[in-house]
Symmetry: C2
Subunit: 482 residues, 2 copies
């Protein structure tokens, strides 16, 4: 199914680069360090609203925000063996302060499991303090050797929300993993980003974790983007950093931990998944400007009344807490203004002319459908809010439907070969559950294994693993990924 103005999969990459530049979201490729860009005012405001939404969901579940130092000394970062093995090749090192060489090299944080565990060893004493849930929103750094990409594969990931939790038992950490999945689902649902949740194969879990659960979405070009991960860390870090508490049974024991992260990719996918050929379509809930008013007049006499009426409406909307802008530029035609604000994805446009004044109405146009409708002036706040909610609902449903169309169930590996030409998106195959077969499937198809659903799917009943022929116990998802 294709919608009017849908982005062509082949053109997505160019579309993305153009739209983030022209809508003044993120200046990328001009700052003279590869993989690092600049959040421009409009993009910063969008990012801020998305961060606030993320904050709210974490705060409401008892997470406490903190701020840890950026620099992690080498001897701290290497405490957990698996962890440093996973990150060693992509850590930036500070070696000098002024003209002095430092005694201990300092890493730019690639993530903060080691430093939060160190602080927990001071802060936590008793099971009575548990569960304890911290988070911070910071920049992290990865010396990516692959091609970088604005907001998607960066060397400075400038929007990284990392949560770190501590628990008395394995089971409580497991429960926390489920809570994190719930929190992330709520966040993505509000942004209208569809997703599948997969348990990553062991060979692709977070360095230092017992297991990793990931949220993946499908971008308009059919490639899959990992947008969030949740890790059960077991006692790996608590043992390495000596985070012990007095347990209920009177003994001192190591805590159980989880961590989970979101990044700039949440913003990148919000932009990509809803956009169309005209530019951005921002969900009402996080749009920095919710309403733009375009005054329409044909002479100076009309102008005065139209501007006055527009200002009244703007003030009324602002008083209702609805961020509204009037485009009073005189050098542009209304048509040119429409084009401008459509590019920026403002969800609601109000057109106001002579006729609206006399009929006490305004013309309302939603960014996703671009249909005109007249609404009563006296109910302006209520109507705008209702339209906003409906836009978000439509965006969410449309995105979900599109993604479902891009998930194909396949029983024979040969069929995955069509992938890339015709299918795109995610392929699901029956799977026996062995890591060995998963690796073979990845090798034979050349397509990356995302992992298996967290609940056993119905459709694999009676199906067999395409590698070993044993009965399938679950399915395995495959995709070309970012």
């Amino acid at each position: 199914m294709r919608y009017l103005d849908d982005i062509n999969p082949e053109e997505f990459s160019e579309w993305f680069d153009t739209v983030i530049k022209e809508a003044e979201i993120y200046d990328y490729g001009r700052y003279p360090v590869k993989g690092m860009g600049v959040w421009m005012p409009y993009g910063f405001a969008l990012r801020k609203n998305i961060i606030e939404l993320i904050r709210k969901e974490h705060d409401s579940k008892g997470h406490e925000e903190i701020l840890l130092p950026l620099l992690i000394p080498e001897d701290l970062l290497i405490k957990e063996e698996e962890h440093i093995r996973g990150f060693r090749d992509e850590v930036y090192w500070v070696t000098h302060g002024g003209l002095d060489e430092l005694d201990v090299k300092l890493a730019l944080r690639p993530t903060s499991e080691t430093s939060i565990s160190l602080m927990e060893s001071y802060w936590l004493n008793s099971y009575k303090q548990l569960p304890k849930k911290f988070y911070q929103i910071v920049s992290i750094f990865r010396y990516e050797t692959k091609a970088t990409r604005a907001m998607i594969r960066l060397r400075e990931v400038s929007t990284f929300k990392e949560a770190h939790t501590a628990h008395s038992t394995f089971e409580d950490a497991d429960r926390q993993v489920r809570e994190a999945i719930e929190i992330y689902s709520t966040i993505f649902d509000q942004l209208g980003i569809p997703y599948v949740i997969s348990k990553r194969p062991d060979f692709d879990k977070f360095a230092g974790a017992l297991y990793t659960i990931a949220f993946d979405t499908v971008m308009p070009d059919g490639k899959v983007l990992q947008v969030g991960t949740v890790h059960h860390l077991g006692q790996n870090f608590s043992k390495s950093l000596d985070v012990k508490v007095l347990q209920e049974n009177g003994e001192n024991d190591y805590v159980w931990q989880t961590s989970y992260g979101l990044s700039d990719r949440v913003i990148a996918s919000t932009i990509s998944i809803h956009g169309d050929k005209r530019g951005l379509i921002l969900p009402y809930i996080i749009a920095p400007i919710k309403v733009v008013i375009i005054p329409i007049y044909f002479n100076d006499e009309e102008k005065k009344g139209v501007i006055e009426y527009s200002e009244e409406i703007r003030n009324e909307l602002e008083n209702c807490g609805i961020r509204t802008v009037i485009d009073t530029r005189t050098e542009l035609t209304p048509g040119k203004k429409f084009y401008d604000w459509e590019l920026r994805g403002v969800p609601i446009r109000l057109e106001i002319g002579k006729r609206e004044i006399s009929s006490k109405t305004v013309v309302i146009v939603t960014r996703d459908e671009l249909k005109k409708k007249s609404i009563a002036r006296e109910k302006i706040c209520e109507s705008v809010r209702k339209e906003g909610e409906e836009i978000d609902k439509r965006l969410r449903e449309r995105a979900k439907k599109k993604m479902e169309e891009k998930i194909s169930k396949v029983e024979k590996l040969e069929l995955t070969m069509e992938y890339g030409e015709r299918v795109r998106g995610i392929i699901e195959v029956p799977w026996c559950g062995s890591e060995d077969c998963a690796l073979k499937i990845q090798e034979r198809t050349g397509i990356r294994v995302l992992g298996s659903p967290i609940e056993k799917p119905e459709w694999i009943k009676g199906k067999t693993c395409p590698v070993c022929g044993r009965n399938a116990v679950t399915s395995l998802r495959l995709a070309k990924t970012y």
Copy 2:
């Protein structure tokens, strides 16, 4: 003049370290990199409220928030000669990514004049875009060789608000300096932080600026803390980074710039200036918890009613947007709870017992005065807000009065010798205006020159410069500083 419970000047340093630790503001000295600490949940919430206050003042004057990369390549940082000369000894350098040595060394931003100017060279084309006001709130890094101090002298300054503006003319940049002074005055007034505003001597201005204006406050130990600076940058950076726009006269010319900054020191001074021997006294306007309710009961029967009534009041306050906590801990006596929340500086305490239920009242106690008063339950939100405003007014006035007492006017340099034993604070001497005499005053007294007031003071009329004997044209402020 001394107030009950005032911190002794000699004990201030210890008081500060103890209170930020025990009130769980900022964990300092345990994280294994010197000069870098951790914002704990309560401290983070305080920091967030202060940041929001700072944001609001900048946004309301048309500043746009952005986010620039942390890393500045060496060849960019050294473009402006004076600037790099000022910062060369205190820049941290990233030299390696993974196991590779980088082609170009990357500095951890010590400040962002060079990178914003580079971006302005892309973003700004015409005088019609001017004035343009950007700001960001980020971590900056300085390899301090002096003794570090929590929140006051850090190697990671984790709360740095830096504003950067561009203008068509010298005069408009001058006007912007005045606007910045106004914005900072409003911020400090709201926080009840008293200040003097001084033009720094040329030998102490920001590296790369034409001139620097600074806000200084006096800490409880009598030492002066610089809490904000405003710089007129002239065309120094715009010429080095080639930031040209089409001017109104049709010619391309370099823009004029200003920059101004605030740091963690705003939080440190809010804590220090209002605190007393019992701990923090947070201004109501930025307190993370505005009200704590202590339920008081003597048996289980009383407990039920008291807790219910307390919850009703809490809900009512929360519905009014007033962040309120009930301390329901059973293992602590009310007295111990009082002590706990006084340490944390919660501005308003409500005590609720059997008597309050029957008389439909609550007992209200403000943190600064600790006097009990009974108020009607039905007007709870209104009364709390009013008390909050009055606390802030009292804190502001008390702090201002204390600071005024610590400014001494002196005509002969010999008298400054008493400083440190008796006087403490700021000394003002008449001054002829010559940099040479300022340097001599600094050398002879061994006390740092802060600079001169931005408006010529009345009292210097007929007075002479204590070095050269010429007529004074203004005064010069001296102090022991952090």
